[in-house]
Amino acid sequence: MKRIAVALLLVATACSGSATTGGGPKGEILVFAAASLTESFTAIGSVFERAHPGAHIRFNFGPSDGLAAGITEGGGADVFASASADPMEAVARSPGVLDRALFARNRLVVIVPRDNPAHIGSLSDITRAGLKLAIAAPGVPAGTYTRQMLEKAKLTLHSAPSNEVDDKSVVQKVVLGEVDAGVVYTTDVSPSVSSAVTIIVIPDVVNVLASYPIAVVAGSKNVSLARSFVAYVLDGGRAILRAAGFLSPT
């Protein structure tokens, strides 16, 4: 009901033709974004709001596949930023998307607790038996990418890993010292995380490139603000994404 009121307000404003302070789209949108985008998108949101008074961006972060299911079943999302193509495909089928574009890429990295209790020195060390490992679950983009990377590197795990709900959960486990090693995105090693972990680099030749698509979700009640936000991510937001460690989309 609130969104109908807001939409009416926008229409009224547009019709009345009166100039409002700051100009630009107003109202509220709900952005569903992959967990790995938590810090960067939160920052992008704040900057966007400051640049567009009257606009309010709300975020729902989580595993991309779970978010896609939520959008398909639940509705209510205006923008979807996924960590891989499959979840975006699902949303494109139902309810549909507009202005779809790739906005960032990411790479994987192995992290271990700061004191490295299992003495992991390189990627292949994680195939040792008797290790406590954490990786994202199979359906989640981070999980899919991890398995693709292992295949590419022709590595087989000999310790059964804990399948986490998303990359952030893997980070948690490593930060708390509950596992010996985990595979996450490079962007997950934020400044606050880096003090608690040690990074084990994955050679580029075997690493996978995660492609992040973003789109406006069909059925959005505030298409103009949604479009405006997506446009910003692709443009002004790039600096923030780069600072967080994301690679450019091309």
Binding site: F59, N60, K168, L176
Partner: protein
């Protein structure tokens, strides 16, 4: 050692005492662990915008869930305890199902029912009401898991009320509503209070159904448990403090109600 004049009680056997001690320790240990690992010097993080917002959302969601539990759970308990109809056992099983259902399954069920393609969701969308990923959704998710616990607490109480008291009230000229208002509910007060406390505790701690049906949206559906989960990713110390805040709230509620919980 008994006080003068106090009748001696038969003490429980030693084995029972030992097991009880373990039981208590089992519950106290995690809380103690939290308290020890908490960065007490950083207590100020609790007043951060994020934590305060999450607390506010939690209070709204819990309050709303308890209200729904009372509104729908009380009549349900009355019908289940007093009604005589075929299939009563089945209905009771269904009403109490959420207790044994994994919360995420409950969340998926709520999506299936109230999502945009859902049983009720589709007609609701048609008239402009969209529930998922709103604060209302968080209240519904919490109510879904809390109401059956409320029903359980109250139903037992209803069975223990002597039905002859209600019959006596009828014989004294009381209409059915009057009997409910002036006899049944007053006699049920301890169980209703216990039910409210249990329902509130469950609603406060609800996670799986909330995150699935209402999402993890700061200021709208991110309750304290969800906030703890998210904060754990970037600030474990802060997360522990928020977790302790949850413990403190529950403890305060228990202490405030300690007497009323048992006596009529």
């Amino acid at each position: 050692m008994n006080r003068e004049g106090e009748r001696a009680v038969v003490a429980p056997p030693r084995g029972v005492l030992v097991l009880a001690a373990f039981g208590v320790a089992f519950v106290v240990l995690p809380v103690a662990g939290l308290a020890i690992r908490a960065p007490w010097s950083d207590l100020g993080s609790l007043s951060s915008h994020g934590a305060r917002t999450a607390l506010g959302v939690s209070l709204v969601v819990t309050g709303g869930a308890v209200a729904l539990a009372l509104l729908f759970g009380l009549p349900a308990a009355i019908v289940l305890a007093r009604g005589r109809f075929r299939g009563r056992a089945l209905v009771r099983g269904i009403v109490l199902l959420p207790i044994v259902l994994p919360p995420v399954v409950g969340g998926i069920g709520l999506l299936a029912a109230l999502g945009r393609r859902g049983l009720l969701g589709r007609p609701l969308e048609a008239i402009g009401i969209r529930l998922p990923f709103t604060t209302g959704a968080a209240i519904l998710a919490a109510a879904f898991v809390a109401t059956p616990l409320f029903v359980l607490a109250v139903e037992g109480g209803l069975r223990s009320i002597d039905p002859r008291l209600e019959q006596a009230a009828s014989a004294m000229g009381a209409s059915r509503w009057y009997v409910l208002r002036r006899v049944t509910l007053p006699l049920l007060r301890p169980q209703i209070i216990a039910g409210v406390v249990i329902a509130a505790a469950r609603a406060l701690g609800e996670f799986g159904a909330t995150i699935t049906f209402a999402g993890n949206i700061a200021g709208r559906t991110q309750t304290l448990p969800l906030s703890v989960y998210q904060t754990l990713q970037s600030d474990p110390g802060g997360a522990i403090l928020q977790a302790l805040l949850l413990v403190a709230i529950s403890l305060a509620a228990m202490i405030a109600l300690r007497g009323r919980l048992l006596s009529p």
